[in-house]
């Protein structure tokens, strides 16, 4: 089972991202759960969302304390929140950042583990015209963890976004290509 924790800001669509991951995984024939951090949310405040993916029925309702993957949608969050908190050894941190690997590792307090970086804000601005990176970052996720098939994710995006789907899929595909993986 893979556990994913998403970090975003209220209104950026972290919950939607988590849902799209689960929808794609389930339609692919896997088992999955997606859930928000339960409770009231404020626009702009740091928020978390969660997803679990497994080959077998997921029999737990615990919170996710030790994720295998963290997916950070907003480039400013690592300065506010310790995003790598609880990340499993051997896990991967996927971040939206235009900084170099070295700079990001420093920002994460000397993080040594596997890292995936993409400038998702730039891609989102160019492809969608808005700095909302929730679909873009899914491209980075597909590249960083070899689990979800891109066509199922595209299908989920299409079902969710209707007219806006094409642009979102383009951003997602671009992020997949542009994501750099380190260590």
């Amino acid at each position: 089972m893979i556990e994913i924790r998403l970090h975003g800001r209220g209104g950026q669509g972290a919950v939607t991202s988590a849902e799209l991951i689960a929808v794609a995984a389930i339609h692919q024939g896997l088992y999955a759960q997606a859930f928000p951090s339960f409770g009231p949310e404020r626009r702009g405040a740091p928020v978390q969302a969660f997803a679990r993916i497994s080959n077998t029925y997921i029999r737990t309702r615990e919170r996710i304390y030790h994720p295998d993957v963290i997916l950070v949608l907003d480039p400013s969050l690592p300065k506010l929140v310790k995003v790598t908190d609880g990340l499993k050894e051997g896990g991967v941190a996927i971040l939206n950042s235009h900084h170099s690997e070295e700079e990001v590792r420093k920002m994460l307090g000397g993080y040594q583990g596997k890292l995936a970086l993409v400038d998702a804000t730039k891609i989102a601005l160019e492809e969608l015209g808005v700095p909302i990176t929730n679909t873009t970052m899914l491209g980075a996720l597909v590249k960083a963890i070899d689990l979800i098939e891109i066509n199922y994710l595209e299908e989920a995006v299409r079902a969710r976004f209707g007219k806006l789907a094409d642009k979102n899929i383009k951003a997602l595909r671009r992020a997949m290509e542009e994501t750099q993986i380190y260590g």
Binding site: H27, A34, E62
Partner: protein, 389 residues
């Protein structure tokens, strides 16, 4: 077989209600029930569901509308949580005594004060004496299946049914769910044809006064109806298994065969507790789990059978009964055991209030307590697990 889809549980529950061809929905939004009724109002608004959605001013009105509508012989639905349930309280007893087959989904949430929107069973446990059939689900699939089951049972037993699912922990999760094909739903839940209904062409009186010479008899009739509904409930699960392949029982057990320490729990924490059982079994400890799928009528025979030869029972309540000797489930179980020959030690915990996480490690610790008291006198009262002193 129905199609396996990825859905937020609330949405799937609403879809199942729509599949049951409900005629009148009356509800007032309250977290964490909101998505259920929101989706139903969408279905009515866009013409996918031919039903009357009454946007009432309160939960008291919501259940009142359902009572009135149900008395005219149509299929009704409402849903609520916490303070909303408490607000409809007086109507709960009327719905059951008038024998109206209303179905209500309760997205379980703790009651105020302090204000909490998170999950526990503090709301539903207040209505355990209200004469409703009450069932509990542990995940999205079960919640959906229990909705279908509720309509079949309600209209056969002529009693209202409350289906419970844990707020947020289940309601707000996207997970794989299989909805039944419409054709099967229609077969499982045929059109509702009440024996009596409010009809100007054939007037009757519903809700008359019960003078002292008749009230006791009226309540006895309800009491017997609820007790007798047990058979209808079990039969409806058997019928459901035939069409869906999914099996349900009043008391569900997990690895209870040879268990010496058992745990009793209800709702979504069950799944996490199962993992604790597996871990302890790997260490050679004979532990098992049982949970009440059916809470009212209380399935005491199934319960006594299910506990086998356990030496101690760890009862994990998700609600308090202030000033009492245990949590609601703990009290019930002690009472059921008193007249029986089985006398396991009862170790009663109250845990997971207001959505506080209960982990595998926590369950293991509670099991350990069960072992501790296996050979010595168990405490008479209960322990609020993990409370900060």
């Amino acid at each position: 077989m129905g199609k396996r889809v990825a859905k937020e549980v609330s949405i799937a529950v609403a879809d199942a209600v729509a599949q049951c061809r409900v005629d009148v929905i009356a509800a007032y939004p309250i977290t964490p029930q909101t998505h259920i009724v929101e989706h139903l109002s969408e279905l009515v608004n866009n013409g996918e569901l031919d039903a009357e959605f009454v946007t009432v001013e309160s939960e008291h009105a919501a259940l009142s509308v359902c009572i009135g509508a149900s008395a005219t012989g149509v299929r009704t639905f409402t849903s609520t949580a916490a303070q909303g349930l408490l607000f409809m309280y007086e109507c709960l007893f009327i719905a059951s005594a008038l024998r109206l087959p209303i179905v209500m989904v309760v997205a379980n949430r703790s009651v105020s004060a302090p204000i909490s929107i998170w999950n526990d069973h503090g709301d539903i446990m207040t209505m355990r004496d209200a004469g409703w059939i009450q069932t509990f689900s542990e995940n999205g699939q079960e919640a959906v299946d229990l909705v279908y089951h509720a309509y079949r049972v309600a209209e056969k037993a002529m009693l209202p049914v409350a289906v419970n699912l844990d707020g947020f922990i289940v309601t707000h999760v996207v997970e794989p769910i299989e909805l039944l094909d419409q054709e099967l739903v229609d077969r499982y839940i045929p059109p509702y044809r009440p024996k009596y209904k409010l009809d100007p062409k054939n007037p009757i009186t519903v809700g008359a006064i019960g003078v002292p010479e008749i009230y006791t008899e009226a309540r006895k009739a309800l009491d017997v109806a609820l007790e007798n509904s047990y058979r209808t409930i079990v039969q409806a699960w058997k019928d459901f298994e035939k069409i869906s392949g999914r099996k349900y029982q009043p008391v569900e057990t997990y690895r209870m065969e040879d268990a010496e320490v058992g745990m009793v729990i209800m709702g979504s924490l069950t799944e996490t507790a199962m993992n604790a059982v597996d871990k302890l079994r790997e260490e050679g400890k004979k532990v098992g789990l049982l949970r009440f799928r059916l809470w009212r009528p209380f399935p005491y025979r199934d319960f006594l059978r299910a506990i086998g030869k356990v030496k101690s029972l760890v009862v994990v309540d998700r609600a308090l009964s202030h000033g009492s000797t245990g949590g609601p489930v703990g009290i019930e179980i002690r009472s059921a055991l008193y007249q029986s020959n089985k006398r396991p030690k009862i170790v009663n915990f109250v845990a997971g209030l207001a959505g506080r996480d209960v982990t595998v490690e926590d369950f293991i610790e509670m099991f350990e307590k069960g072992y501790t008291y296996m050979t010595k006198k168990a405490p008479f009262f209960y322990e609020i697990y993990g409370v900060k002193e």
